[in-house]
């Protein structure tokens, strides 16, 4: 039952970024650009033809991208299931998702070198490597530069359309209060999920799996997806907690929402572990050399530590940590676990990309990684602040907002 207090709450709440956005945007954009410039200098100084820079850039890019994709999936699945509980945090996830144009621009440092003929990142882009390599020749109808570019454009176009559609409708409802907009969003969430599944899978194949062009795994797309959801939900929690710390949404987002988001995090921690274990166990057990090379590179030359860190930090520790009810209901504690999960999700991306850079010398790490992470995250957040603009941070006229405000776990 919609409690009378619930409907009142929303009117007394600070629901827009207002002045904070105007202050934060230049700051974030400035830090972001400066950090990227620093990283570029550091990359040049290394003198390895920007190879390290590109690998690290891809790591951090995939990390930031996964937050946006995770948030997008969150929006879609809430509409597909006609969920009411999540309405209070849905706008946050819509905003986190709808940064595709910036993500496209930020993707250029990966795409442009490929198009311009650099082979620093992807071995299959080099005709010399392909010639005479039976497998790479076989794959060249798929793994070739023009088709790669076309696919990238396709992915970004799809994401741009979906995120824009859902954010626009949702904001439109803030003004018109038209309930039929909800219906139209629900109707399109199904096909959007299909497109989402296809694009995320192939983007993961193209950008990450083709780093090792001779290796393959059918579950790879789902693996990236499972980590992305985790990152997306963690980012939603952190965004909500940060906004509440700034005095916004203090009355619309409650412990009940954190509890439910925490449950989702807990579920996807297990899901990630399930997918990661399935991939590892099947390859380990069948013991076919063309597949085991992938894990061999990740358990020798110092990489075993990173792999074990993932098993513990990405699965076992957060599993135990998020199990008790009280951990999910306390904002501060849950925020800690979200930061923890984001750190390990970053490590997961690092684990996917970096063994290709230094299979022999062990895990590299340097200021350049930090600079790139700070740069990409800041630019992404700057874009999110821009997207949020002066609009409400809660879909204030969503017909199910009352249900969400009155949410109670039992």
């Amino acid at each position: 039952m919609m409690r009378p207090t619930a409907t009142l709450r929303i009117h007394d709440d600070h629901v827009t970024l207002a002045a904070l956005g105007a202050r934060a945007f230049p700051l974030l954009a400035g830090i972001g650009l400066a950090a990227l410039a620093l990283a570029a200098v550091l990359g040049a100084v290394r003198g390895d033809g920007f190879s390290y820079f590109f690998h690290s850039y891809l790591t951090n890019y995939c990390f930031v991208l996964s937050i946006a994709l995770g948030a997008l999936f969150f929006v879609l699945i809430q509409h597909a299931t006609r969920a009411g509980w999540s309405v209070a945090v849905r706008r946050i996830s819509e905003i986190l998702a709808a940064n595709v144009s910036v993500l496209l621009v930020l993707f250029l440092p990966v795409l442009a070198p490929v198009l311009l003929g650099s082979h620093a990142l992807y071995e299959w882009t080099s005709p010399a490597a392909v010639a005479g390599d039976h497998l790479l020749e076989h794959k060249s109808p798929y793994l070739n530069v023009p088709f790669f570019g076309i696919r990238c454009v396709f992915y970004f176009a799809v994401w741009w359309l979906i995120t824009r559609f859902f954010l626009r409708r949702s904001v439109q409802q803030d003004h018109s209060g038209d309930a039929s907009l909800t219906l139209s969003m629900e109707r399109f969430s199904g096909p959007a999920l299909l497109l989402f599944a296809v694009t995320v899978t192939f983007a993961a194949f193209d950008w990450l799996m083709s780093l090792e062009p001779r290796w393959f795994s059918t579950i790879y797309g789902i693996y990236y997806f499972s980590g992305a959801i985790l990152a997306g939900v963690a980012a939603i929690v952190l965004a909500a907690a940060a906004l509440q710390a700034s005095g916004r949404l203090t009355m619309s987002v409650t412990a009940e929402h954190y509890h439910d988001l925490g449950k989702l995090l807990f579920g996807f921690v297990i899901f990630w572990g399930y997918i990661a274990f399935s991939q590892y166990m099947l390859i380990w057990y069948a013991n076919i050399p063309e597949e085991t090379v992938y894990y061999l590179a990740r358990q020798t030359n110092g990489w075993a530590g990173v792999s074990l860190a993932l098993a513990f930090g990405h699965l076992l520790v957060p599993f135990v940590g998020l199990l008790p009810r009280s951990m999910k209901r306390r904002k501060g504690v849950l925020a800690f676990w979200c930061v923890w999960l984001l750190v390990f999700h970053w490590l997961d991306m690092y684990w996917l990309v970096m063994p290709n850079y230094s299979p022999d010398a062990g895990p590299p790490f340097g200021l350049i990684d930090v600079a790139l992470l700070v740069g990409l995250v800041c630019l992404y957040l700057a874009s999110a602040v821009r997207v949020a603009g002066g609009e409400a941070l809660v879909p204030i006229k969503d017909p199910r907002l009352g249900e969400s405000l009155a949410l109670e776990n039992f």
């Binding site: 009411g84 599944a197 789902i222 997918i275 099947l282 069948a286 063309e290």
Partner: protein, 493 residues
């Protein structure tokens, strides 16, 4: 509080401003008890029940005879032979285990997702789970050849001083299916205790009172009991959720840990789980549609329930289609000639018919559920769901048989043909499933009364508590001109 009028029997219209009612026909606590309990209390079930029971028990008898014949003569009476050493036995096993996944999904996962509409269908689906697991268990037990040594699978202290091999996925299966059967049974029974107490308290004959009374364990519905009961139910749901994922994953490991082309692929675990849910829901809908009509449950199991299940079928059908496509793509992309051959052989080899039946039924047929008309018209959804069931049986057939019939040794290639015993046992397993199912419909509460009552909009007792007015079950709901949308009813937050 606004009210809108809807045509009778339709709660499938979406209005985001308010939640559609979960039950129709103005249900009260009393009417729910009456509607559900009367089915089990009725001296004679509908004639259709007898007809169905005669057919299914005949098939069960055929299954038993075929099994006896097989055990007496040997597994040679099946069509399995090198290279197709696994055939109908494993196909049927995987098929039935898959069917068994819907029950736990509805009871556990939808419970955790607070999908309240599950209350009307969970009992039904859980029962199906148990019966399907029973059907599934028959086949691996028999296919080991000497079925009387099946206990060797258990790690027990024995005079041979040997232990089972825990590094074999086949042993994982024993533990996974065994655990699944046990936990499903506990979950089903725990959920049924309050309803058995209802039947006990309504019993008119001494025999029934004692029989239901023993199984109700003396349940008093007390506040302290409910408190712990709800905790236990939630814990079991939390445990059953990863369990249901693990069971079909372990079944997929049976194939995927091998190096057989078409079997060894990393997407198998989630793909099998999606397929299992897909087939399980299709079976639930296939049986629910006639059951709600014959037993007058249309007001409790409404079109909206069926529509929701059909949406799950659509979603999982798309996941299965995704897995088929990714497998094909990676078979090409991987560049392994054996893998490529296996997939081309599936689609265009000697079993091409089976492959295209599978694709048509599993990927194309459920696309009909994009249309609301199909999702909400009983006869249409039954057709789609039967097609899905056929398709999912063929999926397992395609995986098991086509990969084996043309493996690494071309001189051993063979076209597998099932024998009469194979087909009898397949049909017989359906007979066993339906026999158990019909007995369940007849003697146990088909809908979880206590759970449906808990999600009723107005927690009011029947009008006058002194003279209970047994509300007639509204079999067809003609008498209702309109319904009011109450405020708090929700199918999920």
């Amino acid at each position: 509080m606004s009210t809108i009028t809807l045509p009778a029997e339709d709660n499938t219209t979406d209005d985001p401003r308010r939640r559609a009612p979960l039950t129709m026909g103005g249900q009260t606590l009393t009417s729910i008890t009456e509607t559900v309990a009367r089915i089990a209390e009725r001296p004679r079930p509908p004639r259709a029940w007898y007809v169905a029971f005669a057919v299914s028990s005949t098939l069960t008898a055929a299954l038993i005879l075929a099994a006896i014949y097989l055990i007496a003569v040997g597994v040679g009476v099946w069509g399995n032979n090198v290279p197709v050493a696994w055939a109908f036995d494993i196909v049927n096993f995987v098929f039935w285990v898959g069917i068994g996944h819907a029950g736990t999904l509805i009871s556990a996962i939808l419970f955790l997702f607070r999908q309240r509409w599950r209350t009307s269908v969970n009992r039904f689906a859980e029962a199906m789970t148990i019966f399907a697991v029973i059907c599934a268990g028959i086949f691996p037990a028999i296919h080991i050849g000497r079925v009387w040594f099946v206990y060797w699978l258990a790690p027990y202290v024995n005079q041979m001083a040997v232990w089972p091999n825990f590094r074999s996925p086949l042993l994982w299966d024993v533990f996974a299916v065994g655990t699944y059967a046990t936990v499903s049974l506990l979950f089903w029974y725990l959920g049924m205790i309050p309803d058995l107490a209802t039947l006990r308290d309504r019993a008119t004959s001494r025999v029934r009172r004692i029989a239901y009374g023993i199984f109700a364990l003396g349940w008093r519905g007390s506040g302290r009991q409910w408190h712990r009961y709800e905790r236990a139910y939630m814990l079991l749901a939390g445990l059953a959720t990863p369990l249901v994922l693990s069971v079909h994953s372990v079944v997929s490991f049976d194939f995927a840990v091998s190096v057989v082309p078409g079997w060894h692929t990393t997407i198998f675990p989630p793909y099998f789980v999606a397929g299992a849910i897909f087939s399980g829901f299709a079976m639930v809908v296939t049986l629910m549609v006639p059951a709600r009509a014959f037993f007058g449950l249309k007001d409790l199991v409404t079109l909206r329930h069926l529509e929701n299940m059909n949406k799950v079928i659509l979603a999982t059908g798309c996941m299965v289609g995704y897995a088929y496509s990714i497998e094909f793509f990676i078979a090409w992309y991987g560049g392994n000639p054996y893998e490529q051959f296996a997939f081309i052989n599936r689609a265009f080899g000697p079993y091409t018919w089976a492959y295209w039946i599978m694709v048509t039924c599993n990927v194309v047929a459920p696309q009909a559920f994009w249309f609301k008309k199909v999702r909400t018209t009983p006869w249409m959804m039954v057709i789609v769901c039967i097609l899905v069931n056929i398709g999912m049986w063929f999926e397992r057939f395609v995986i098991v048989v086509t990969s084996l019939s043309r493996d690494y040794l071309p001189s051993a290639w063979e076209y597998y043909r099932p024998t009469a015993v194979d087909i009898t046992m397949l049909l017989g397993s359906f007979g066993l499933f339906f026999t158990l199912f019909l007995l369940f419909c007849r003697y146990l509460p088909m809908v979880a009364m206590a759970e449906v009552k808990a999600v009723l909009p107005h927690h009011h007792a029947a009008g006058d508590w002194q003279t209970p007015a047994p509300a007639e079950p509204h079999a067809n709901g003609e008498s209702h001109q309109g319904i009011r949308y109450p405020d708090q009813v929700s199918e999920g937050h």
